[in-house]
Amino acid sequence: MTLAPSFDPIAEAIHDAEGIPEPFAEAFKAPDDEKKPRELVIICYSGDLEKTWASLILASTAAASGVPTKMFLTFWGLQTFVKDEVRITGTNWMQKMLSMMQRPGISHRKLSKMNFMGMGPWMMGTLAKQYGVAKPKELLEAAMALGVELMPCQMTMDMFGLKREDMIDGMGEPVGAATVIELLANGAAPLFI
């Protein structure tokens, strides 16, 4: 099929659309280019100090940059969000023993390497202070003030025997994996830390 060189189908269509009555012209108009910021979902899986730190730096910065940010707290990552003063969690002996072996709470995180009975985290904390690096607790407070949403994993809550009152204030409702998958399927950027 050959067309006359001057034939421009889009220009033709626009020309035609201009002639049609108002209600129809409205229907043919392209939708308003509404720029919706992409969401960020950080899946906090690890309870290690250095990874918790990285998650909270990214979460607070994303929220500060106007990116709607959610943190899905699961497995060891959920232990970080137990109140600092809660020592033993769970109802049966295994749950209690696990919390004994790895103290929950954001101020009691251990390094994955070179923990040396707390010597590593102490040195990290001292260096952080010296170099003006905000501690995880401070970053968490900033992140929450900037609107970062905390979504605890229901399954982890159950498995570790964690109760709502064990967790820090300002947490959202516990959710499951399907909630996270829906966010990702709808285009949220995922980070698995």
Binding site: S60, T61, A64, G66, A134, A142
Partner: protein, 78 residues
């Protein structure tokens, strides 16, 4: 230094990433649209970070100057 009407100030000197940005985002929330926030920071990375941050938030980076090791940013809330 030009004379600008500053509505809020952030002293982030001595603070490391991401606190200059986090504190600025909090300060910007306290001023009205069109008002200015002045930030002082010593983090060398902030020079690039504030440019990126203003692009992603839409707040305008009105001024960016450096005196010694102190970087000064003036931001206009969108």
């Amino acid at each position: 230094m030009s004379v600008l009407e500053i509505a809020a100030q952030v002293d982030a000197r001595g603070l490391s990433c991401p606190m200059p940005i986090v504190k600025t985002a909090q300060a910007v929330k306290t001023v009205a649209s069109g008002e200015l926030v002045e930030v002082l920071a010593t983090d060398p990375g902030s020079q690039r970070d504030f440019v990126a941050w203003s692009r992603s938030t839409g707040h305008e980076l009105v001024e960016q100057t450096t005196e010694g090791n102190v970087h000064r940013f003036v931001i206009r809330r969108k």
